[in-house]
Each structure stands twice: as C-alpha cells, then as structure tokens.
Symmetry: C2
Subunit: 78 residues, 2 copies
Amino acid sequence: MRLGSGQRASARERLATHMRRLRADAGLSQEMLAELSGLHRTYIGSVERCERNVSVDNIERIAMALQVDVSDLLAPTY
Amino acid sequence: MRLGSGQRASARERLATHMRRLRADAGLSQEMLAELSGLHRTYIGSVERCERNVSVDNIERIAMALQVDVSDLLAPTY
C-alpha cells in the first residue's frame, strides 16, 4: 500500500485490499478464487499486488466469485 | 440497456447509466468530460454505450472528473 498520511487509496489499492480481505474471510486461496472466477491464479495474485489495470468485466467476475456487489470492491478503505 | 424483467444491470451498464446521469446533472458534454478526464471523446461515448471493457484506472479518472467516489460509478441502478 505505502500510503502517506492523508493520502487516499487508489482504486487499484481499494480493489486489492477488499479482495484480500474478502478472500481470507471466505477461506479461499488465490487458486480457489481463480477457479471460481474463471481467471488465472497468477492474474489474481497480480491484482492483489495492485500490478494490474483490471477491466470492469473482470472486476465483475471477481465480485461474483466472492459473492459481493461489484461496487463493494471499490468502496473506500479506512 | 435492454434488460429483461428481474435481470440485474451488468457492471458495464451500471457505469454507463451513472456516467450519463452524472454528466447530464453536471451539464457536461461528452467532449467536456473527455477534456476533464484526459480521455478521448469517442472513448467516453463508447463507454456510455457499454461497448468498452473499461479499466479500473480509467473508471477512476472518470470518477475524479465527475467529482464522485469511484464506487458510486458501479453502484446498483434501479
């Protein structure tokens, strides 16, 4: 993350934070989330490291796999 | 949109719906939103027609230009 004080998380960082938390809460590995979303395991890993400029269609696939609303994945993080 | 009864709007459709409404509310043309977001006018038009698999970085630029939170652009539409 490496956020300075007062700096807001970018959309990529929000997505990564929510994914890691929701995936952990659901007891899913990156492999399992990849399987559920139809994406590749290494892709899931790179999204969780903020390395990917993910498309809206893939954000939607990840949200469906995590059983949350797509907007929840971009909600503010505190 | 072409949504059947009971069918939820896709993330692309949500984004397009929110963009058109927020842009109209702000009295902005597609050209003006393009200028504010640093994207091309024809790109803005294609996003509003659900033709583009927009990236999270560009969703963020559009949100900043429209002065809304990025998650608002993917919120459920009713």
